[in-house]
């Protein structure tokens, strides 16, 4: 089992703090992504983030800030295009998804020297998080929590019924673009922890589970945050115990817990109705 000496390592402490920080963002933003059916959009934004990672590696600038700005710009562009051509939204997402990813790969290819760190951003490595990264993640969390609390009523109304929300004078377009930028920043802070390929899993599995147990949007945000934390911590333990990559371990653990919960709920339902 866990030995206490493990926690004396700085990188382990940082990993645990990172798990808490991403769970806060994943809970709030994941709930909004799921109720607004923005999962595919989030996938597109996540993959354009790779363009940001490539740019950072090519220029040698710090990864998190560069990717944060790059991804927010891409999310804004995607949001504005999707508003103009609503019926073409899924195609646009597909184009930006592929283009962002390709751009990132080209930048990495052009970057001088051997890029060992590349895999980190595809599959994540929570154990490689630096103190500086933690500060950036904490700032992003503060922004997300503040925005979600301040605009809670408007977000609730807009998520439930955007057309009606407009008749109430709620600035629906602005909120939609804000939500996409929050998605972009959440993706950026999660890339290092679970990796680009698994970001979607950590933004959707916790809210899907949370939705089963909650009756309010706020409750769903908190519950999905707690599920995300449970998944991250148990995944980290699995990663340590079986010596496998942290990103895949977190998502594998999440999937198993998800199946257990959904499966047992189905069985309980059967037994009750029998």
């Amino acid at each position: 089992m866990l030995d206490m000496e493990l926690f004396s390592h700085g990188f382990v402490q940082r990993a645990l703090i990172a798990a808490v920080l991403i769970s806060i963002a994943a809970g709030i933003v994941g709930a909004l992504v799921v109720v607004n059916r923005l999962v595919f959009m989030t996938g597109g934004i996540a993959h354009t983030a790779y363009g940001g990672v490539g740019t950072a590696i090519y220029t040698g600038w710090p990864v998190l800030p560069v990717t944060g700005v790059f991804t927010a710009a891409a999310a804004l562009l995607l949001g504005l295009l999707s508003l103009r051509r609503r019926e073409r939204t899924d195609t646009l997402i597909g184009v930006i998804w592929a283009a962002g990813m390709a751009f990132g790969l080209i930048m990495v290819d052009l970057a001088p020297g051997y890029q060992a760190g590349l895999m980190t951003y595809l599959f994540g490595s929570i154990l490689a998080v630096s103190s500086q990264d933690l500060w950036i993640m904490a700032v992003i969390d503060v922004v997300i929590v503040a925005a979600a609390m301040y605009y809670y009523r408007d977000i609730l109304s807009f998520s439930f019924d955007p057309v009606f929300a407009r008749t109430r004078g709620i600035p629906v377009t602005g909120l939609y673009l804000m939500l996409l930028i929050l998605v972009a920043e959440t993706v950026v802070m999660m890339i290092q922890v679970v990796g680009l390929l698994l970001v979607i899993a950590l933004l959707t599995l916790p809210p899907y589970l949370a939705q089963r147990f909650t009756r309010t949007l706020g409750g769903m945000m908190i519950a999905s945050g707690l599920f995300a934390l449970l998944f991250s911590l148990s995944g980290l333990w699995v990663s340590y115990r079986f010596d496998i990559g942290s990103g895949p371990a977190i998502i594998a653990t999440a999937s198993v817990i998800y199946l257990l919960v959904v499966g047992s709920a189905a069985i309980i339902g059967r037994v009750k109705s029998a």
């Binding site: 109720v35 059916r37 609390m149 301040y150 605009y151 809670y152 009523r153 408007d154 609730l156 109304s157 998520s159 439930f160 019924d161 057309v163 009606f164 929300a165 407009r166 008749t167 109430r168 004078g169 709620i170 600035p171 939705q211 909650t214 009756r215 309010t216 949007l217 706020g218 409750g219 769903m220």
Partner: protein, 256 residues
């Protein structure tokens, strides 16, 4: 107050609107008086919902004017209650009935995750008027179609609007639910201007004071009856021998 007394609730002049090159509404002129119970009828795709959205200010006319309480649409959210089709809303959305009703409050200076005492009192009053008080703590997603529709009516009533716009409140609702909604609408009664879209001609009742037949053009008639011109506008010309003719004439009390 004076503005409300001197103006029609809704006045539409020479309106034209389309999506791209596709004309949806043309040369539309009508007026809805305060206190009227107006039913908008017409075939699917005829422009009924679009007309409602123009009145709400969700679209801008390509030509002509829409005036609501003598002003541009969208200026007075608190005076207008809007009830969309319930079927369009996300199932399984995490919200209680009370919260859905609270969403009817206009965008204002109040922010933050909670709702205020006075707002919750207003929600309680709206739920009472719509007959859904006992559902307050239920999850919206767990309700039947008829119950959801009445919750959306309560959401529209929370501001105590002078004008209520309903978009096909009876679609996909069983007969019992329809009767309940009818009763609710009748009870809301005097003083409230009601405009209801319906593709079912059978809903025209005694309490209806005006019918608008919409199929790209709009014909307006006094009272609940549907005229021959309206039927022709909506469904084309049908001869005396055509079963459609008899169905329309007898079934819906046409020929006013």
């Amino acid at each position: 107050m004076t503005a409300a007394q001197t103006h029609a609730a809704i006045a539409v002049e020479d309106l034209r609107f389309g999506f791209g090159d596709q004309p949806v509404l043309e040369s539309v002129n009508f007026r809805i008086d305060e206190g009227a119970f107006t039913v908008i009828v017409g075939p699917n795709g005829g422009g009924k919902t679009t007309l409602l959205h123009l009145i709400l200010g969700l679209y801008r006319p390509d030509h002509g004017h829409v005036r609501v309480f003598g002003d541009k649409p969208g200026r007075h959210p608190e005076r207008i209650g809007y009830v969309p089709q319930h079927g369009n809303l996300a199932p399984g959305f995490p919200a209680t009935v009370e919260q859905v009703v609270l969403m009817g409050l206009p965008h204002g200076r109040r922010h933050g995750p909670g709702f205020w005492r006075d707002e919750r009192d207003r929600a309680a009053e709206a739920m009472r008027r719509a007959g859904v008080s006992e559902l307050a703590v239920r999850a919206y997603g767990a309700l039947s179609g008829g119950q959801r529709q009445r919750v959306l009516i309560a959401r529209a009533l929370i501001t105590q609007p002078e004008l209520l716009l309903l978009d096909e409140p009876f679609s996909n609702i069983d007969p019992y639910g329809r009767a309940c909604i009818h009763e609710t609408l009748e009870d809301l009664g005097q003083g409230l201007t009601r405009v209801m879209v319906s593709h079912d001609l059978g809903i025209t009742r005694q309490s209806v004071t005006q019918v608008l037949a919409v199929n790209r053009l709009v014909l307006s008639g006094v009272g609940p009856g549907i005229t021959d011109e309206m039927l022709e506008l909506m469904y084309g010309r049908h001869g005396e021998q055509c079963p459609m003719h008899e169905h329309l004439m007898v079934g819906y009390g046409g020929r006013d």
